[in-house]
């Protein structure tokens, strides 16, 4: 089972290696970053059972941090990605600390509120930029592009995605993963088993946030901008809808589905307003479908689904 999952994690890399068309390679590069973002959400929501509606916060924080570091020339764009990941870890850990004792709906609302607060803070942000200009606000921050052609960029994000999925598979089967699964299933049971529930929950937020931050940094470096829209509800819903539809907590499923979904959306050039409706509709279908699954199998719990998390 694990061998096939690891093999599947490298499927995007195989596609990126096979693709020749520059337009398609550019699409694959961004799709790899977006799939990385969804993988972080799936680890948080699927493995640790903490459904976040604010995964856009570490995503945007990573993009802004990477853009600031590379745009100001403080570090090379490649190193700025590390800064983006660290910003994501911090943003995720903050969400985790605030929500460590909250459950389900309260946690989802709290994460949504933190992301919206982050978006508004970013909207008000004004940053002096080299050359004497002021950037920020609705325009976001300009970022230095990674010095890579389309093929190298597509392969880089696919390698990062494969590495992230493989690492998450390992972590989900590790001691931390077992503690997270138990805490996600029943916090009181986990506490009675000697597990520091708040601690492992914050760790899950930090790991998920780190991947989202890395993904945000990649998107900013690939598109040349940390856009304000990266902090929007649209992205949080994208993670929730695609992550759930791909098989909550299966790690590889959500990653691959997000990759395919991101490619299709870019290929079809679906506008932002339509994406929000699309993701919201998909979230409704997944949620209702999961509830129906519970009703038809009363004696056996579902292995995936938003409501069961």
């Amino acid at each position: 089972m694990i061998v096939w999952q690891v093999a599947a994690a490298f499927l995007p890399l195989a596609i990126a290696m096979a693709a020749q068309d520059r337009f398609m390679l550019a699409i694959l590069a961004v799709a790899g970053a977006q799939a990385l973002f969804v993988s972080g959400w799936d680890f948080l929501g699927g493995v640790s059972g903490q459904i976040s509606l604010g995964h856009a916060l570490p995503f945007g924080a990573g993009a802004y941090a990477a853009a600031f570091l590379s745009g100001w020339g403080l570090v090379p764009p490649g190193v700025a990605l590390v800064g983006g990941a660290l910003a994501g870890v911090l943003a995720g850990a903050l969400q985790g600390m605030l929500g460590a004792r909250l459950h389900r709906v309260a946690l989802a609302l709290l994460t949504l509120a933190t992301a919206e607060a982050g978006r508004e803070a970013a909207r008000m942000l004004r940053v002096p930029w080299p050359g004497g200009i002021i950037v920020g606000g609705n325009g976001g921050l300009p970022a230095a592009a990674l010095p890579l052609d389309e093929a190298a960029a597509a392969r880089l994000t696919a390698v990062m995605l494969a590495a992230a999925l493989t690492s998450l598979l390992w972590v989900s089967r590790s001691r931390l993963g077992l503690a997270l699964r138990l805490a996600g299933a029943d916090a009181r049971l986990a506490g009675a088993s000697g597990i520091d529930v708040a601690g492992v929950r914050i760790a899950a937020f930090a790991i998920g946030g780190g991947l989202a931050g890395l993904a945000g940094g990649l998107v900013a470096s690939l598109t040349g901008r940390a856009a304000l829209t990266l902090l929007s509800l649209e992205w949080s819903l994208f993670a929730l809808a695609v992550g759930s539809a791909g098989g909550l907590g299966t790690i590889v499923g959500p990653g691959l589905l997000a990759y395919a979904f991101a490619v299709a959306l870019q290929w079809l050039d679906v506008p932002g307003t339509a994406r929000l409706s699309l993701f919201a509709t998909l979230a409704i279908i997944v949620t209702v479908g999961a509830a129906a699954g519970v009703r038809t199998q009363p004696s056996r719990p579902r292995r995936s689904g938003i409501l069961n998390a």
């Binding site: 077992l178 138990l182 009181r188 009675a192």
Partner: protein, 232 residues
């Protein structure tokens, strides 16, 4: 004056706790001696579960202290209480349906950071003690009520507990399962484990406990001495 360590393994003093304006625990004081098996008999809403919740860190007392030996563990979080050596089961058994019996036990061992061989030994011992050998790789949604009860006790034991609090361990067990449960608990007691067993009636407690305390309206109303009791 005797120190808390000399007084007993567990000492609760003047505990008070209200839920929704009603006194669940009203100035409760109790001592549990090392190696003792104390029964706690009381009806629904008498405060048995509230007391266990407070001792195990799942609820905070408004007043009063909880001592484990010489250590004041009042208000500690649940996982720290477990690390200190207090294990518990729940009135309504709690299991994660998607995890196997073995995974539950492995999770409860995590905080002890044992070597792999020691982990395997501990797991095997708990499985053998609670007769879970035939279902150790089975997911818990497929277990019977009796097997779930036994898993709960195995899970509590494997945390390295020296004081086991059992909340209604006989509830939902059929007449065929009761003797095995009583026999398993007796064996644990014989091996020196200190236990507090909460149950609605004292019939089954008589078969298991050195003393039986009766709890009513959140306080202990009487503690008769059982025949052959080793503790006053």
């Amino acid at each position: 004056m005797r120190s808390p360590a000399e007084e007993g393994l567990l000492r609760v003093e003047g505990l008070v706790r209200h839920f929704h304006g009603v006194a669940a625990i009203a100035g409760l004081t109790l001592i549990l001696h090392r190696g003792e098996s104390l029964g706690l008999a009381g009806g629904n809403g008498s405060g048995k579960t509230a007391l266990i919740d407070i001792i195990t860190g799942f609820a905070r007392p408004e007043r009063g202290r909880v001592w484990l030996g010489s250590q004041d563990v009042t208000g500690w979080p649940a996982h720290r209480i477990v690390h200190a050596g207090i294990g518990r089961t729940f009135q309504t058994p709690r299991v994660a349906p998607q995890l196997t019996v073995e995974q539950h036990l492995q999770a409860a061992l995590l905080h002890r950071r044992l070597a792999r061989q020691r982990e395997l030994r501990e797991t095997a011992r708990a499985v053998e003690l609670m007769d879970l050998g035939g279902v150790r790789r089975r997911e818990t949604w497929a277990l019977s009520a009796a097997q779930v009860r036994r898993l709960e006790i195995a899970r509590a034991l494997i945390t390295g507990t020296r004081l086991l609090l059992l909340d209604e361990p006989f509830a939902a067990l059929g007449p065929d399962d009761l003797p095995a449960m009583i026999s398993a608990l007796r064996r644990l007691h014989t091996e020196g484990l200190t236990m507090l067993v909460a149950a609605r009636g004292d019939g089954l407690l008589q078969a298991l406990c050195d003393r039986i305390a009766v709890i009513e309206a959140g306080s202990v109303s009487r503690i008769p001495r059982a025949a052959g009791s080793r503790h006053a």
